[in-house]
């Protein structure tokens, strides 16, 4: 064995040991899989509202600024809203134009089917400014209502907004616009109407002190308002006077809609009601089964082939069958979702 190779083999062990020590200092087990895609619909998501914009095109909005676009068959994709504020309501003019409103006076609009959502400056109060409802009107106009006596009239598909009412300490939760008549309903049974698209308003007394959460009309005369603690009011004179109607329960009601042939209302504990005349109500919630106990719905609106439901989960009622539209199973709400009252 030559002295040179002997020298090399003598150094070899030290090299190996040095290499291992180096590895001990610098090799770390790989963290792996950090690029996890969050589920489109997470257990923590609540959806406060949903709307069908066109055939096979649905928008739903909810807590923490979540906006999702779906095909009505349970496939959803998340859209970047650019906000973390809860979004309380959504409406659409067509497949491209839509708007969403929510906490902290947030107004978002899109004119490209939701590829980009732009934040609009709206004249909201600095004190309390949660926006609760929005309705799209013809010609790119819209109306939104919310806390601190906020009624906003929007134009240019939600890009520009003007305030129709002065700041006062009253929160509006419900909104119905027919032609140029606007009806808004709010806390402590308050209700007001305008026949000239918000230029002038008249206060209307109602027979309740409960918070009213929604109002809807079937035609020029017949309308229903719903609210907390199972409140249902009926008007048969276009909203000038209201009568209490019993529906047999005391759960909160969050929404009411007219789907062309009946009123439908939804609320806590999977409560779903229907009534053709607004006077006699019957439960529609058999479809939910046991799951109704931990579901709640804050929005029920007519879609092309069924009633759309948004709340603890997303779903649609076909006939008397409830179909979940969330990839999670019906009834799996987040850790802090269900109510204790």
């Amino acid at each position: 064995m030559s002295s040179r190779s002997s020298f090399i083999t003598s150094l070899a062990p030290l090299c190996i040991i040095g290499g291992l020590l180096y590895a001990a200092l610098y090799i770390k087990p790989a963290g792996g899989g950090t690029a996890l895609e969050p589920p489109v619909i997470a257990p923590r998501d609540h959806f406060y509202a949903m709307v069908q914009a066109a055939a096979g095109q649905f928008w739903a909005v909810g807590n923490d600024g979540k906006v999702v676009l779906g095909d009505g068959r349970g496939r959803w994709q998340v859209q970047a809203s650019g906000t973390r504020a809860h979004l309380q309501a959504v409406d659409a003019w067509d497949a491209r134009h839509a708007l969403a409103v929510g906490n902290e006076g947030t107004v978002l609009s899109t004119s490209d089917g939701g590829q980009t959502w732009l934040k609009a400056e709206a004249p909201v109060s600095a004190t309390a400014n949660k926006l609760m409802r929005v309705q799209a009107l013809p010609d790119g106009q819209a109306v939104a209502v919310g806390e601190f006596n906020t009624v906003l009239l929007g134009s240019a598909y939600g890009r520009h907004w003007e305030r129709l009412t002065p700041e006062q300490d009253v929160a509006w939760y419900g909104l119905a616009v027919r032609g140029s008549r606007i009806t808004v309903a709010g806390e402590f049974g308050r209700l007001m109407q305008s026949d000239d698209l918000g230029r002038s308003w008249r206060a209307i007394t109602t027979p309740t002190e409960a918070h009213l959460t929604a109002v809807a009309f079937a035609d020029e005369r017949r309308g229903v308002a719903v609210g907390l603690n199972g409140t249902v009011l009926l008007s048969e004179d276009g909203g000038r006077s209201w009568l209490p109607v019993g529906q047999g329960g005391e759960e909160h009601l969050y929404d009411v809609s007219w789907d062309g042939r009946r009123f439908v209302a939804c609320g806590d504990r999977g409560l779903l009601l229907e009534s053709a005349d607004g006077r006699a109500w019957k439960a529609l919630d058999a479809a939910l089964g046991e799951a109704r106990n931990f579901l709640w719905f804050s929005r029920v609106v007519p879609g092309a082939d069924g009633l759309l439901l948004a709340g603890a989960t997303l779903g649609v009622i076909h006939g008397d069958r409830f179909v979940s539209l969330a990839s999670k199973a019906a009834g799996t709400s987040g850790p802090a979702s269900a109510t204790a009252r």
Binding site: M1, L20, P43, R44, K130, P335
Partner: protein
């Protein structure tokens, strides 16, 4: 000088035996006071940042020893008076378990699970089912409705299908005696289990309890192992003395440490067998008396024997650098223990052999030696010449391939459930079932720490927690998370008549403070908030619930936590990792890999130094590194292949095993070297070495491998896996020593073996080792 020492030992053998006997008694007394295991702090890396966070906050945010108990209704739901009564019994009885932190017993039946309702003067926090269980149908229906609507209970303490209820209980670390806790909790469980109700439980103390539960079985297997060991040695050596002498090793009865004990016993047996074999050979070669043969055997084998012992001890003491106290204790015990082999095997065995009466009478007629001799002779013919080059080339290839696969080894647990027990064990079945129904039993808490009181009431702090939770929950193995950011929106909603549109944070720090004040003043105990935030709201915890604690799961989570913290800096606040069981497991896993590689490196360094000093050649170090490295890479590859993770349980075996079997190579190479110095040709020297030391290696390795096979029957998966690993390790070492080492001598003709001029000029290298 060595000759004088050997003469002294054999000459004054009575004295030597007495002294060693006394020493043994002394050591025995000392050993009985050593305490291994059960101190959970010992399992955690000292000074690791996660462990420091864990120790700072574990009293309130949850220790690593939480136990989860689940009561399952076999039919229907849990809302039956008899079921709920039994849930209440379990909840109350748990207070009596030793070491329990009574503030941390949480279930539907505890005072801590409250329903927040609005009342005329603000809020009312009323326990859902405390102190009494509803007894009529109306009460049960009311309770069921309230549970279904309470998102902080449904899913966490009552399963979503309403078929099971969960109880969590935590302990004061320093008061916890796991086996005792397991016994007491099991007694409580047995008292309520019955028709229609089934109890499952998981948690570290439960696991420790199961391990202890199998102690009798472990002892039985240990006895069987020793019996097999004895029987095999008897079969091979055909004499009683050959059987009994190698058995001079200590025994320790912790089921997890027993494997370590076996590792050391294996070395002890190896050295003794070599001496006995050599003794027999010396008698055959014409030694006149037993004393003469014993003297020659001791003289001949003293150097490789001591080299083996010192190298082994050196490799073990390296493990003290692993920053885990348990490992440091194991290292010290292992080193001391291995060092005693120097006395018990290398000195004591020949001294005792010197009393053997001649002529030797065989105790049974089965003689395996001729067969073994023929096998060794055959082997000797096949490892020389061209075959040697092929063998070395194949070994190089095997090294490269196994070295590549060795890096696939999983750090941390490689499978769901506990790796200590079999996948279908009661414990792992319970763990699987509980994690299927509930969001996860292995908890990790991450602390959001502010600089002053009330910092975590800031909206941006709560918002960060909320976003953090959403981010972490994207990982499928994280079933849920919990923080103050989950509670405040619920309080606000209740304050706003239960309206879901108001489930949100307060607008500012003050409103959040008011909401928390209302919650506390509504009847909730201040301590009820303690698992979410400290009393002055300077820090808050986000608890993550893991469905499993596999190494990859926890590593991914930790990487994501760091990622989130880096991308979302919050002025004046920081995210501190990480406590709870999953948090400290993350810490352990982080130090294991680096420690193990470092241990291997330093052990090799010790080996090289020992060889270099003994043989005056760095080449010798290189030479003896080969079998050690090969055994390490092959064993690691095997672990990677079989999915055996490197964790706190396997680490002692891997670390203490580094030097296992290197003594085989010492004996054989030293034998070759001696024969060459007596003028034999290389082929003859190899044949003689294999016939002498090689036979001893074969007997030792064969005996030990067959003996560890007994552990395949163990109910503890850990033991069977470790036994398999040791069997493989011993097999590889024996193969390297018998086949690869002679082939390497043929191929490389290293100077320290062949006796070049330089080596020869060092007259008696073995004198460099002082007895």
């Amino acid at each position: 000088m060595l000759a004088r020492f050997v003469d002294f030992c054999i000459g004054r053998r009575a004295l030597v035996v007495t002294v060693i006997g006394l020493l043994t008694l002394l050591m025995l007394g000392a050993a009985s006071r050593i305490h291994v295991g059960t101190d959970f702090g010992d399992l955690l890396p000292r000074h690791h940042a996660y462990v420091e966070v864990h120790n700072r906050f574990k009293a309130t945010y949850g220790s690593s020893n939480a136990v989860t108990i689940v009561l399952e209704a076999e039919q229907g739901d849990i809302f039956r008076t008899d079921f709920l009564e039994r849930l209440r019994t379990v909840t109350l009885e748990l207070r009596k378990v030793d070491g329990v932190n009574p503030e941390q017993i949480i279930s539907l039946a505890s005072r801590k699970i409250v329903d927040v309702r609005s009342s005329s003067d603000g809020l009312e926090s009323r326990p859902l089912m405390f102190p009494e269980v509803p007894s009529d149908a109306a009460g049960l229906a009311e309770l069921k409705a309230r549970v279904q609507r309470n998102g902080l209970v449904l899913g966490s303490y009552v399963s979503r299908d309403l078929g099971a209820a969960l109880v969590t209980v935590d302990f004061y670390d320093h008061l916890l005696k796991p086996e005792e806790a397991f016994r007491q909790i099991r007694a409580i469980a047995d008292s309520v289990a019955g028709p229609g109700l089934r109890v499952r439980m998981v948690g570290e103390p439960i696991l420790a309890g199961w391990v202890a539960y199998f102690l009798p079985e472990t002892l039985t297997i240990l006895a069987a192992t020793l019996a097999v060991l004895g029987a095999l040695l008897f079969l091979f050596s055909r004499t009683w003395r050959g059987t009994l002498l190698p058995g001079l090793a200590g025994i320790q009865f912790d089921p997890l440490v027993i494997v370590v004990a076996f590792l050391i016993t294996a070395r002890s047996i190896s050295h003794s067998v070599q001496l006995v074999t050599r003794f027999d050979d010396e008698l055959k070669a014409g030694a006149a008396t037993a004393r003469e043969a014993a003297r020659k055997a001791m003289f001949g084998l003293f150097k490789p024997g001591m080299l083996g012992v010192i190298a082994d001890a050196g490799c073990m003491i390296i493990v003290i650098l692993v920053p885990i106290p348990l490992m440091q204790k194991v290292a010290v015990i292992g080193t001391v223990w291995v060092s005693t082999i120097a006395l018990s095997a290398v000195v004591m065995t020949p001294v005792l052999l010197s009393w053997v009466r001649l002529p030797v009478r065989h105790a049974h007629p089965i003689n395996l030696m001729p067969g073994l001799d023929r096998a060794m002779a055959g082997l000797a013919r096949r490892v020389v010449g061209r075959n040697a080059y092929i063998l070395v080339a194949v070994a190089g290839l095997v090294f490269l391939v196994s070295g590549w696969f060795a890096f696939d080894i999983r750090i941390g647990d490689a499978n769901p459930g506990s790796p200590i027990l079999h996948q279908d064990s009661a414990y792992n079945r319970d763990a699987t079932e509980i994690n299927r129904r509930f969001p996860g039993t292995d908890r990790m808490f991450v602390v959001l720490a502010g600089e002053q009181a009330d910092d975590i009431k800031r909206p941006e702090a709560l918002e960060t927690m909320n976003r953090f939770q959403r981010y972490m929950e994207a990982q499928p193995e994280i079933g849920a998370s919990l923080s103050l950011a989950d509670l405040i929106p619920v309080i606000k909603r209740v304050m706003r008549d239960g309206n879901h549109h108001y489930e949100e944070f307060g607008r500012n720090q003050n409103e959040n403070g008011e909401l928390l004040y209302l919650f506390s003043s509504g009847g909730a105990d201040p301590s009820d908030l303690e698992r979410l935030a400290d009393r002055d709201f300077k820090t808050g915890a986000v608890t993550l619930f893991f469905r499993d604690h596999q190494g990859d799961t926890i590593r991914t989570a930790v990487a994501r936590i760091k990622e989130f913290a880096a991308a979302n800096p919050l002025p004046g606040m920081q995210l501190l990792l990480a406590g709870g069981f999953a948090g400290v497991t993350a810490a352990v896993n982080e130090v294991i890999l680096a420690s193990q590689i470092e241990s291997i490196a330093l052990a090799l360094l010790v080996l090289v130094l020992c060889c270099a000093v003994t043989y005056r050649s760095l080449n010798a170090g290189m030479f003896f590194m080969v079998p050690v490295i090969l055994a390490n890479t092959l064993t690691f590859s095997f672990m990677a292949w079989k999915g055996i993770g490197m964790n706190i349980n396997t680490l002692p075996v891997a670390a203490l095993g580094i030097g296992l079997g290197v003594d085989y190579a010492f004996y054989i190479i030293d034998d070759i070297r001696e024969e060459l110095r007596h003028g034999k040709s290389l082929e003859e020297a190899i044949a003689l070495a294999l016939a002498g030391a090689g036979k001893g290696v074969t007997v030792t390795a064969g005996t030990l491998i067959l003996a560890v096979a007994m552990w395949g029957f163990s109910s503890l998966r850990f033991q069977s896996e470790m036994a398999l690993l040791m069997a493989i390790w011993l097999g590889i070492s024996a193969f390297s020593a018998l086949v690869l080492m002679p082939a390497m001598v043929v191929v490389f003709k290293p100077g320290f073996v062949m006796g070049t001029a330089r080596a020869a000029s060092v007259a008696r290298p073995l004198q460099s080792i002082q007895p």
